[in-house]
């Protein structure tokens, strides 16, 4: 095999691997990613049930209800609209009513957000970026609660 043939084989193989990698990435980017949404956006424009979303906002005070088998229901609000959340699992240590939370999952046809991941803020002063954005969009943002701090801790079901 000459140097030229070897080089062509190599380039052909590299091109094949590269093409499949790009194909996989494009396919996964259309399907495997989650977009960020605020409660108002979900209320105004209910997304399709196969779209993965990250929902940011505050846990509505008085909305938290725990049922048997680790089933948790609460609502996430940005001050304008509230979205009911259904989650099975253990909530993060820092989950509190009235404080910031990010939920990841899909919206069921009934309009309930089926979360498989809940992220809560990590200490008394920190608020996840997404929550800040959501509150700014709805005009409920109070900057005094925005001090920097360590990161949110994820809990996946």
């Amino acid at each position: 095999m000459t140097r030229k043939q070897r080089r062509l084989t190599l380039i052909g193989l590299a091109g094949l691997v590269l093409a499949s990698a790009v194909g996989l990435i494009l396919y996964a980017l259309s399907d495997g990613i989650a977009f960020f949404a605020t409660p108002s956006e979900i209320a105004a424009n209910p997304p399709s049930p196969d779209r993965r979303l990250r929902l940011g906002g505050l846990v509505e005070t008085g909305s938290l209800a725990k049922e048997d088998g680790g089933v948790v229901r609460f609502a996430v609000t940005d001050g304008k609209a509230a979205v009911p959340i259904h989650y099975v699992g253990i909530l993060p240590d820092l989950f509190r009513e009235g404080q910031g939370v990010v939920a990841e999952g899909t919206v069921s046809p009934a309009g309930v957000f089926e979360a498989d991941t809940i992220l809560a803020k990590h200490d008394e002063t920190y608020m996840p970026k997404e929550v800040v954005e959501a509150l700014k969009k709805s005009g409920e943002w109070r900057p005094e609660a925005s001090a920097e701090g360590p990161a949110p801790k994820a809990v996946t079901r």
């Binding site: 095999m1 990435i25 980017l29 495997g32 801790k153």
Partner: protein, 662 residues
């Protein structure tokens, strides 16, 4: 006083790094041997001063010197001794100091043990290493000084982040940094070779042990981080495709590719340009990881308090070294000579395939990690790229690579015979098929995907064992003959087989723990019992716990099998009072290679507690496999060939085994 001395030592280390980065470099360009000869001394002294500085900071932590801002922010006098020490690198400033300490350590090791290197190459390598030192020492002194004093010292400190108060902090960051920063050596060698304009098989032989060392520690560091996250964060996952995890995983993939391509270069003088490029890319990915973690562009448990000036500073370092390295590469790569010829089906061909797949997989991880950042910067749209993306991209790329792994070591250099190799792997193939057949008979078609994964793991493990069995003529020659051959086999051959076997073990753990994982989330009161397979778990009651800077509640569970008590488990809910942070401590019991994992949720007023119980089949194999891989690297590292008689460059026709290296 000690604190000021530590600060001063750091400034001196910077001065030494500047001297070590300029004088020997100038000497190497001018051919001045006296200037080149000072490089080892400046490098070793730089290490001594950084080590002193690190010791000074550690001392401040040990005696709880609350006049130092860094100690106030991250320590507490009641903290246990271990966490006072590990707390030194449990924060941004201290962890950067550890980074520089390890950088200086690697430089010093090259200076001490690189006696077989040509004077010019050694001077250039140490100069490049010194430049990296200059950049990061300046970074620490300008933006992240851990020695800042307070005018009015408080009586007590703010305590360390409770999540970090764990033995994992003692092990994970130092190991990971040894891996991350170890990549700087192969980078320095690549840059030095490009400047020198001479790259040959000898170069590959000098670089390989350093790459192997870095890879060994990186493997252990990532595995330790994974196990730490598994038991500390309390939700039983061991890998989250978190950007910070990816930041350590990308250099690992690139370093794995580099390890393999350096073999081709060493044995056959081929793939020179590619190997140099990989060496540059591997360290670039390490720097990128440092940037992602330390700049605050990501939020995670690893991102400490953020400061934009730091991010920009690291970004500048990043651009300087990656840009400079790649520019030099573009300028000089064309002058490098071509290597040997080989057919597509050959050992070289297999290693090229390994490199293609690993770099493609690394690229998908890079895209998945940076895409959300780029999209947000460009359009403001926020997305999150999580496990589904990586399972869809990384997974399919790994499958052909893993299938190919057992073929590699069997193939001959230059031109291999795939049919002959296939015959030698028939036993491994049979074992894999047997796993699928037995599995299907026992579990039916619903488990088909998991069984294929399992078969792949068995294929890897038996395939690695087959290679050794073939080479020592196991069962084809008398056992004594096989034993003699086994002892005589180069350590690097054993290392390859062991590392590939470890890869199979890790895959086995991943597949088994994902497919045969039982999860129970329920509410329990004292006296309640749940059934997990053949065992029962009874909640006995609550007991108070306290220690260090926390107090909390433990729940005692008793595990029984057939009525007999097997063990007790005591998961805890803790409140760290200084930072007012609650944490959950899971209780984990190991049975064989499998684990029972019990974690607590909220404890209700009436004693009704949310409990999460996992049975994770063979999960410990994930980390044991990584340790086996590291063991393979250590075996390979002990190979005689890497220590004695590095060959002189080709044009000086000296015999290959002329002088002992050390």
């Amino acid at each position: 006083m000690i604190v000021e001395l530590g600060h001063y030592a750091l400034v001196l280390a910077l001065a030494l790094a500047i001297a070590g980065g300029t004088l020997p470099f100038y000497g190497a360009l001018r051919g001045d041997e006296r200037l080149m000869a000072i490089a080892p001394s400046t490098t070793i002294m730089q290490f001594v001063f950084v080590a002193f500085s690190f010791a000074a900071l550690t001392h401040a932590y040990l005696v709880s010197d609350f006049s130092v801002l860094n100690v106030v922010e991250n320590s507490h006098s009641l903290k246990p001794l271990l966490y006072k020490i590990t707390g030194v690198w449990g924060n941004h400033e201290g962890s950067m100091l550890l980074w520089v300490l390890i950088l200086a350590l690697f430089g010093a090791l090259v200076a001490l043990f690189g006696n077989n290197l040509p004077l010019k190459l050694k001077a250039l390598v140490l100069s490049v290493q010194a430049w990296i030192g200059v950049a990061f020492l300046t970074f620490i002194l300008a933006t992240s000084n851990p020695f800042i004093r307070l005018l009015n010292p408080p009586v007590e400190g703010n305590d360390l982040n409770p999540v970090l108060q764990d033995i994992g902090l003692a092990v994970h960051p130092p190991l990971l940094y040894l891996g991350y920063v170890g990549c700087s050596i192969s980078f320095a060698f690549a840059i030095a070779a490009l400047i020198d304009g001479r790259i040959d098989a000898a170069w590959a032989r000098w670089v390989r042990p350093w790459t192997l060392t870095a890879w060994l520690f990186l493997t252990l560091g990532i595995a330790m981080g994974s196990y730490w996250a598994y038991y500390e964060l309390g939700w039983g996952g061991w890998w989250f495709w978190d950007p910070v995890e990816n930041a350590s995983f990308m250099p690992w993939l690139a370093a794995t590719a580099l390890l393999h391509s350096a073999i081709v270069m060493e044995k056959r003088e081929a793939l020179k340009i590619w190997t140099i490029l990989l060496a540059i890319l591997t360290f670039s990915l390490s720097l990128l990881g440092t940037f992602l973690v330390r700049s605050g562009v990501l939020t995670s448990v690893h991102a400490f308090a953020t400061d934009p000036t730091r991010g920009i500073f690291i970004l500048c370092i990043l651009c300087l070294f990656i840009g400079g390295g790649l520019a030099l590469f573009a300028l000089r790569a064309g002058t490098l000579s071509q290597g040997g010829l080989f057919a597509p089906i050959s050992r070289e061909g297999a290693l090229v395939f390994n490199n293609l797949m690993l770099t493609a997989a690394c690229a998908t991880v890079l895209v998945g990690t940076l895409y959300p950042l780029a999209l947000e910067a460009l359009t403001g749209e926020k997305i999150s790229v999580g496990a589904p993306f990586f399972n869809m991209t990384f997974g399919p790329l790994m499958v052909p690579l893993l299938i190919a792994v057992p073929f590699g070591p069997f193939l001959a250099w230059k031109r291999g015979d795939i049919i002959a190799v296939g015959e030698r792997l028939l036993f491994a193939f049979g074992a894999a098929v047997l796993v699928v057949v037995i599995g299907l008979a026992l579990m039916g078609f619903s488990a088909a995907m998991s069984l294929l994964g399992l078969a792949l793991a068995v294929w890897l493990m038996v395939g690695a064992a087959s290679e050794i069995a073939f080479r020592i003529k196991l069962f084809r020659a008398p056992l004594m003959e096989s034993w003699r051959r086994g002892v005589g086999l180069p350590r690097s051959a054993w290392g390859t087989a062991v590392a590939h076997f470890g890869l199979g073990v890790t895959l086995l753990g991943i597949i088994a723990s994902t497919a045969w994982n039982t999860e129970i989330i329920t509410t329990m009161k004292p006296g309640d019992t749940v059934t997990i397979g053949s065992r029962t778990l009874t909640m006995d009651g609550f007991l108070p716990v306290s220690g260090g800077t926390y107090r909390g509640t433990a729940v005692r569970f008793t595990l029984r099998q057939g009525g007999a008590v097997v063990t007790t488990l005591e998961p805890e809910k803790r409140l760290y009072t200084v930072q007012n942070t609650p944490t959950t401590e899971a209780s984990i019991k190991t049975f064989g290679f499998s684990q029972l994992y019990v974690s607590l949720g909220d404890i209700g007023a009436d004693g009704a507690t949310t409990v999460r119980i996992y049975w994770k089949t063979l999960i410990t194999l994930i980390w044991l496999g990584a340790m086996v891989m590291a063991g393979g690297a250590a075996l390979s590292l002990s190979d005689r060939r890497l220590r004695v008689g590095a060959p002189k460059p080709a044009r000086r026709a000296a015999p290959a085994t002329a002088v002992p290296a050390e």
